[in-house]
């Protein structure tokens, strides 16, 4: 039912998880306040860098990858690598507005009702 590595013998405590939870909340505040500081670099670090850190913390401590067999990391990293392959394979065609001997012509967007101000 749980990780054999550390479940046998003693009672589990909730404390370490609470500590991780408080760190996650602090990081959430950082990611919201970050963009208000202005600057693209700050935003990228506070929004996406912090998202990566948060995701890794959830994976390591809440999903117990820190005590899981190494196989699972390989599995997840493999999936991530294939996604990178997809990104860089598709990027030259889809990410740019023009390329070698081609140019993306912007078609007129279909008529939509103008959004009301709010």
């Amino acid at each position: 039912m749980s990780d054999t590595a550390h479940s046998e013998g003693h009672t589990h405590s909730a404390k370490p998880y609470l500590r991780i939870y408080y760190i996650l909340l602090a990081l959430l505040v950082v990611s919201i306040v970050g963009p208000m500081m202005g600057g693209l670099t700050v935003l990228l670090i506070t929004a996406f860098g912090v998202a990566v850190v948060k995701a890794l913390m959830v994976a390591a401590y809440f999903m117990h990858l820190n005590v899981e067999k190494k196989y699972i990391w390989y599995l997840l990293v493999m999936a991530a690598i294939f996604l990178l392959v997809l990104f860089f394979g598709v990027a030259p065609d889809v990410m740019n507005k023009s390329g070698v001997n081609w140019k993306h012509l912007d078609h007129p967007a279909p008529a939509v009702t103008a959004p009301a101000h709010h």
Binding site: L18, L25, I32, V58, F87, V90, M95
Partner: protein, 196 residues
């Protein structure tokens, strides 16, 4: 139908990882490429269209932040349910699972408020490809939230009786994954409005 009997195969454990947990990780690996594929497509378009930053201004940062908080908290609850299950404490395991389901419900309510408000202001799915991505990604994520809540509801009776307690951990791993997906959707659709 005659009572189903768990085959011997299920309880074998050549890798050292219980079968259910191993399968959950494979489920997540295939989910990573599904959400990852969608996010990859979004990123490709996002780099091509710097002007989408202006569209992203209209998503509700406060609601997104609240939802991040709600999901992180529900992740904590589900891991506490797992701790309780490890200690064979079925009362607390059941309590924390119910709190997790409530967290999912709050998340969906906030999401429903966001959708309603955005649609009523004209930001519909067909307005532009940005909004199409926004609705597709968040709705796909929302379906996963609903799926997780449903499964938790289904395992509750057994958990209360102290049967199949390993399932608390498995649904927990899935729920954390749903949380992790949101951790990425949040900056992609809510925060990155200033990036150009």
């Amino acid at each position: 139908m005659s009572a189903f009997q768990v085959p011997i195969a299920t309880n074998r454990c050549a890798t050292g990882i219980p079968t259910g947990r191993l399968a959950i990780w494979w489920v997540l690996a295939s989910e990573i490429v599904i959400f990852g594929g969608l996010v990859t497509c979004y990123l490709l378009f996002r780099f091509r269209h710097p002007e989408w930053a202006a569209e992203a201004e209209h998503t509700k940062l406060a609601a997104g932040a609240l939802n991040t908080f709600v999901l992180l908290t529900s992740s904590l609850f589900v891991v506490l349910a797992h701790v309780a299950a490890c200690n064979k404490d079925t009362v607390n395991a059941r309590k924390y699972l119910i709190w997790t389901i409530l967290g999912g419900l709050i998340f969906l309510c906030v999401k429903a408020y966001e959708y309603t408000s955005e649609i009523s202001h004209g930001y519909t799915i067909t307005r532009s490809v940005f909004w199409a991505f926004y609705y597709t990604a968040t709705a796909l994520h929302g379906l996963h939230v609903i799926g997780g809540m449903t499964i938790m509801g289904l395992i509750l009776p057994d958990v209360a009786k102290g049967k199949n307690l390993q399932r608390v951990e498995y649904i927990g791993i899935y729920w954390h994954f749903v949380d992790v997906v949101w951790l990425f959707l949040f900056p992609l659709f809510y925060i990155a409005s200033a990036a150009s």
